[in-house]
């Protein structure tokens, strides 16, 4: 399934840096997200768009991840020639990531 089915996200911009925060709908999927959404996977998923570093942070209290992508916005909001100068749609692209149905089912049964 797509990540969109178990998580929500929002992206923002500061200069040429994008951040995408992502949270599971169900806290039972929090560990799954931490395991599946690796820095490497996100870097690869955004390789065409983000040309710098990808760093992953955790919101320990909110139970969410925050990905910070540098050199990610074609120069930043005022310099970029892209259609999406803010990277607002980056959140949607992150949610396109495939998550194995069985891993989700396992996380669900672990709680129930």
């Amino acid at each position: 399934m797509k990540l969109r089915e178990i998580a929500y996200a929002r992206s923002g911009d500061k200069g040429n840096v994008s951040n995408i925060c992502v949270f599971p709908y169900n806290e039972a999927h929090w560990d799954l997200l931490k395991r599946e959404l690796t820095t490497e996977r996100v870097r690869e998923h955004f390789a065409v768009l983000a040309h710098g570093e990808v760093t992953r942070f955790e919101f320990l209290g909110l139970k969410g991840l925050n990905f910070v992508l540098t050199d990610a916005l074609g120069g930043g909001v005022s310099m970029s020639l892209r259609t999406d100068i803010h990277g607002k749609a980056f959140a949607s692209l992150l949610l396109e990531l495939e998550i194995d149905n069985e891993l989700v089912a396992a996380a669900d049964s672990a709680v129930s």
């Binding site: 929500y8 929002r10 949270f23 709908y25 065409v48 942070f57 209290g61 930043g76």
Partner: protein
Amino acid sequence: MGADRIRIGCGSASNHDRVESAVAMADKGDVDYISCDCLSERSIALHQMERIKNPDAGFDHRLPAFIRGLRPFLNRGGVLVGNFGAANVDAAAAAAKAALIEQQWSGKIAVIHGDSIRDLVLEQNLALPEIGATCRDVETNLVSANAYIGAEPIIEGLSAGAKVVIGGRIADPSLFVGPICYELGWDLRDWDRVAKATVAGHLLECGVHSTGGNHADPPYRPVDGLDALGFPLAEVSEQELIFSKQPGSGGVVNGQVARTQLGYEIHDPRSYLTPDVTADLSRVSVREVGLDRVAVDQVAGRERPETLKVVVGLYLGWKVVAEISYGGEGCVGRAKAAADVVRSRLKSLTGDIDEIRYDLIGYDSLFGRPLTTAEPTEVRLRVAARSNQEAVARAVAFEVEYLYFGPAAAAGVSIAIDRQVGVTPAFIAREAVTLRTEVIEI
């Protein structure tokens, strides 16, 4: 001052926001303060351009409308704070004064000066890390430099009795930190409390984004009343921070909305840097405590950064965006062939074009690649370029328009050519920036 609780609402999240939503907050929000963020990252540079054309312009032209709409709120003793001044604080103050006199309002207003520091950044030749240059390297194109300033001068104004506070590049959350710390008597060096006020500001600064706007994604996240979203508000006291929204408005404030707003434009959650504090959001938690009410706990803070961020505005020459559509089977192939035609015809101008890109809207323009193999029904070729020369921008547009002659069935050309101002960050020692709060009696 000396209250044990403050109720503060958002009145604007950008210079394109709706004045009527601020009026609704004033009339129905039961708030003591309304703070208005009127600036996005690049708007101050755009306002500088307006000022260059017209010395009386360069501030948020909605200011008189705010004052007229919020007249009953101001009458009740409500306080209005905003970075309406943008690139021309003096002109904004004059406009506010005129509007307040017209409304037969009497009282004090505070005007914050000193964030505009173009001469200073050149004198110090500050580095511009994102573009790998210094201020003097780009002096001929350097339109503006504005320091993001904090809550301190707002508190000065409020302490002097001002009921309307106007400044330039006051940082978004600081517009809220000022009133909160003033009203609750919080010391600006009490980092945990300033961080709590900053988180309140961070929850409110984006307007209707944080009352469901940037959340709506049916069927997973349906939001009712998207056409009538209300501005957010916060109740802050020693004990709690409650995030809510204007009663009677559309949208939603729940745990999910609060989480994505808390995570918005944050890098390391342990260090959210503002002019007022280094806020630690890493352990922040949210609890739904009622309809459209979320309690936010576990905010911590550390000493504020020693430097202030500066937004430096630069002329970038001319930007052209030209588009043309193709539909039906084979449309992607025809659009790609059209892009090749333009590329080939523009070869002789390569040295005069700073940057150019070709995207197919409906296919790869947002993500740089299609996400499925299915062919779209239609695509729109978008050619975007930058050049120092207007003639070159026009030549790019001409070539896209000429695509009407082939490949086949090209449809609907649109062209936009604008002079561009970009912004890039710099950092300056805090003590180098001198701010002054002027109090005017009306």
